[in-house]
Amino acid sequence: MASAKELSDFLKSSEKRAFKQVLYAVRDEDAALDIVQDAMIKLSQSYGDKNIEELPLLFTRIVQNCTKDWFRRQKVRNTWVTLFSKFKKNDADEDAHPEDFLENPETSSFGQESSKQLERMELSTILEKEIEKLPNRQREAFLMRYWEELDISETASAMGCSEGSVKTHCSRACHTLALALKKLGISF
């Protein structure tokens, strides 16, 4: 069983990363803080008696689930708004789920943007923006695999998909980010 100190140290080491990951997904600082708090409380309440080695994967899963729950609540809240908006115009993506919303930057427009803002923006800020633009599943797989340093099987378990899917998501995310880094003059 993880002691109080071990749990505290683990949460201290993971909270910032978890907050940033959730922030990339929900793009709302207050919501991200609420989600991280919920995840920490759930981890402590339900799995506070587990061994310290089990906590990282459990916490990752809980954060993912809490984020999905937030999206579902947002979808319910926005239902009436969407309903009224139907009377105004035909929305092509009215059936789209918020968590599946894909945003792919046009490389040509990004190239023009980077040429204007390259001197002003730091590398990390640009990377954060690129990560935010990634599709949800690619972003989840990439962050869990390379930032949280989970292996492929753990990432697949946390995401509820196959190891092949994890590799595919990671590969596509890395290609997108590599293109962004290339435009900044960083090549591999």
Partner: protein, 174 residues
Amino acid sequence: MNTLNQNPSTTINPHFAQKNSMNDLLIDQVGKTVARSLDKELAHLSPKVLQNLEKSREKALSVQKKSNQALSTGFFNINYESFNWLGTLLLICITVFLIADWQQQARLSDIVEVDAAILSDSVPPDAYADDGFKLFLKNMLARAEKANEQDDPAAVANSTEKNREKAPDPSLNQ
């Protein structure tokens, strides 16, 4: 004869595998580079965010789940949950025992009451075992009811005299 030419896949595989592994290495390199950059960014979180995260952590630690073993007392090593079950079961058993005992006591007191009434009555106890006496009592009661309905005192007196003549002498049965 070149065996490799007979199986084209063997000539392709090494290059394909090499290309794949190079791709994987590049992907890993990109991933790790981005991860390092993101780690650096963590140092620039706002004080408000850091404060909120600290409060959340403290709240989470205050509700940490303790294992069942941690709740056990050192010497007796009692499992808290099983103790609850045992106590409940014991309470139920005691309650059932008390109810059964009370019912038995009530039954005994009823029997004692009836026995006392029989023994203290003017009619001898043996009369209650006599079928003829029971019939006599039955008939007497029936006539008393009829007389009450007719509301004739003379008829009631006559009926009781007749019942006494008809009833056999209980002393003859001894």
